[in-house]
């Protein structure tokens, strides 16, 4: 268990999210705890279905209920606990102190309203901007994310934007109220590979300018390597490894993390070394394996892995891992 960091900007403890399905209850996020420090970029990494998006949505209580439900946990943001706060308090934080960028910029923008209207909404709501001052701020926002002809573009509809422009507009919108935290859920997955890097650069620059912390949800370790300060690796609803980005790359300590790293190409690796996908399928969330959920796919699994769930244990350099086996052996 990670030690409490009172100075953390956002502190998540034992967050548990469940979804009701026809076949039964799924625990998508299982007692997840982590901290986010002011100004840092924290990556939440894992395969799809591992619970990273659910974690992100839960932070702002955006889990659709039904079918979802935040079953347990605490989320401390500054001096407030969000899960027990009233709706008005949470709404006052959403889009204002904590902003979100979603995966699909096409579907995440309302097709029947102009870019200008949607971009200005957080400012209207939280900063009470109206009329010319609102317009001026919106123009500045679009300019800041390098959208040409911003005045004309404010009149455009989302379908008239390219995917990259839409996501840049989303970034601009997330920055509009100078948030403390930006949560970006797979912000580039839906985009063409050629502009992914460009967008991430923009996002990185923007959070830096606004001195905001970034929670970057991704399945892409390449992205993590390049932009993140720290990394949390998730598997089957739990954080299995947490460390600085450097640590994770140099000395991964969870067999799943190792597997993930081997399955992606790395610049510091000889070409001759083959990419090795992790064997087996991600577990069925309705029927998780006993003990460590990764053990059926783990080449190093021992009997204990099948019987007991390993806790996330802190080691040197703030490196924490949930594994019964020490991979360095």
């Amino acid at each position: 268990m990670a030690k409490t960091a009172p100075e953390a900007l956002l502190s998540v403890r034992d967050l548990t999210v469940e979804f009701a399905t026809d076949a039964g209850i799924i625990t998508a996020v299982d007692a997840v705890s982590f901290d986010l420090q002011a100004g840092e970029i924290l990556a939440l990494v894992g395969e799809s279905g591992c619970g990273k998006s659910a974690t992100a949505l839960a932070l702002l209580r955006l889990i659709a209920d039904p079918p979802g439900r935040i079953a347990n946990g605490e989320i401390h943001f500054r001096d407030r606990e969000l899960l027990s706060a009233d709706d008005a308090t949470v709404r006052d934080i959403r889009g204002n102190r904590i902003a979100m960028i979603f995966q699909e910029p096409m579907t995440s923008l309302n097709p029947v309203y102009t870019i200008g209207r949607q971009l200005g909404e957080p400012l209207q709501l939280h900063k009470n901007l109206r009329g010319d001052s609102l317009l001026a701020k919106c123009l500045a926002l679009l300019e800041s994310v390098n959208i040409p002809e911003p005045r004309r573009r404010l009149q455009s509809y989302p379908h008239q934007f390219s995917g990259g422009m839409r996501q840049r507009m989303m970034i601009a919108m997330s920055m509009s109220c100078d948030p403390d935290i930006v949560i970006a859920d797979e912000p580039t997955t839906a985009l063409d590979v050629t502009i992914q890097a460009q967008l991430l650069e923009l996002l990185q620059a923007q959070v830096a300018n606004h001195r905001a912390a970034l929670l970057l949800i991704t399945h892409n370790l390449g992205v993590v390597a390049r932009y993140a300060d720290r990394v949390n690796v998730m598997y089957a609803g739990r954080i299995v490894e947490s460390a600085s980005a450097d640590e994770i790359y140099r000395t991964p300590r969870h067999p799943y993390t190792i597997g993930l790293l081997r399955s992606v190409p790395r610049l510091d690796q000889p070409i001759s070394e083959k990419l090795l996908p992790i064997e087996g399928q991600p577990p069925n969330p309705l029927d998780l394996p006993s003990g460590c959920a990764f053990h059926p796919r783990c080449p190093l699994a021992i009997d204990k892995c099948r019987a007991e769930v390993p806790a996330l244990t802190r080691h040197a350099n703030g490196h924490a891992v949930a594994c019964w086996v020490d991979v360095r052996d």
């Binding site: 955006l62 709404r91 934080i93 979100m100 309302n110 097709p111 957080p122 709501l125 939280h126 379908h159």
Partner: protein, 318 residues
């Protein structure tokens, strides 16, 4: 937007032309002609001269292409012919009866919107609550009650047992506004309830679908309250299919008017059509079919234009 409307209009005109030809042909392939139909069982048919006289009077002894050419020319000049049934000018009949049916339609549409949209929104917002079940059940009842039966029951309840409204009949608004309103309450209710039930179901399902959309989540993530999310982001896109349903049910109102105007003895276009069909009154039937088609086409055009207004994506597709 101008080009978009132009294309829609051109479509409508082509369909109208097809309808005009079909209408004329269909009216004539129904077995039995007007004279036989109207005179079957009457004492005078044993005298063939009677039949021939009447057939000649209405031009029914000419070939169908000739009848068509003559009729179309006159129709376009505003001469819609003379009703076999009433002896009135068909155009005059429409002018007299249109306001009556229009009053019913507008009333029923407003009533269906007033009932259907709030009920649908309530159902969607309070999904699976008691209110939602009430809305869903009410909508199913509204849609599935046979209007004919509903009308008779209402007449016995509110005109015979509890004499609040007249059992049937119609008084023009400008003749006696109060009597007019009393006379149209029950028929409007019956006609609009059916459409309202349909509308409530569509609004509910459409809103539920919209509420599951990513952009609604985006709106929530901006910090909007649930009410503001609905009002600012869900209603307008949620109305896209609803506009279609309102358009469709406007077309469907005419089918309802067939029953309602007969049951409530209202001298509107529906009654006139029923009489014309029973009497095989070609001039009226043809004009009616064309006006019905025109009505549907116009409503569709209006729906298309509204679509373009509501959904900017449509305008480009043209």
């Amino acid at each position: 937007m101008g080009k978009y409307i132009g294309i829609r209009l051109a479509h409508a005109l082509v369909i109208l032309a097809i309808v005009v030809v079909l209408v004329f042909i269909i009216a004539r392939i129904i077995p039995g002609d007007a004279i036989m139909a109207a005179m079957a069982g009457s004492v005078d048919l044993h005298d063939p001269s009677v039949v021939e006289r009447v057939r000649h009077q209405y031009g029914l002894d000419q070939s169908i292409p000739v009848q068509f050419a003559v009729w179309l020319g006159e129709f376009l000049r505003g001469d819609w012919g003379t009703s076999i049934g009433t002896g009135q000018k068909v155009l005059d009949m429409f002018v007299q009866r249109l306001p009556v049916t229009l009053e019913l339609f507008v009333g029923a549409t407003l009533w269906s919107i007033a009932v259907g949209i709030p009920a649908g929104i309530l159902g969607a917002l309070k999904r699976n609550s008691a209110a939602d079940i009430a809305v869903t059940t009410g909508a199913i009842i509204g849609v599935s009650l046979p209007p004919f039966w509903e009308a008779i029951v209402l007449i016995y309840l509110f005109a015979v047992l509890l004499p609040i409204f007249p059992p049937s009949g119609y008084v023009p608004f400008f003749e006696h506004p109060l009597l007019n309103l009393r006379a149209v309450v029950l028929p409007t209710f019956v006609l609009g309830t059916h459409a309202g039930g349909l509308l409530a179901r569509y609004v509910r399902s459409s809103l539920l679908e919209v509420l599951g959309q990513d952009y609604v989540r985006t709106a929530r993530a901006k910090g909007f309250s649930e009410a503001a999310v609905i009002a600012r982001h869900a209603l307008k896109p949620g109305m896209i299919p609803v506009v279609t349903v309102i358009g469709l049910s406007w077309g469907g109102l005419l089918a309802g008017a067939f029953f309602i105007e007969v049951v409530f003895a209202i001298p509107g276009l529906g009654r006139m059509s029923v009489d014309a069909i029973f009497q095989k009154d070609y001039p009226v039937m043809q004009a009616m079919l064309i006006v019905v088609s025109l009505n549907v086409l116009l409503v569709n055009l209006l729906v298309d234009i509204l679509y373009g207004y509501i959904d900017p994506r449509v305008r480009v597709r043209g």
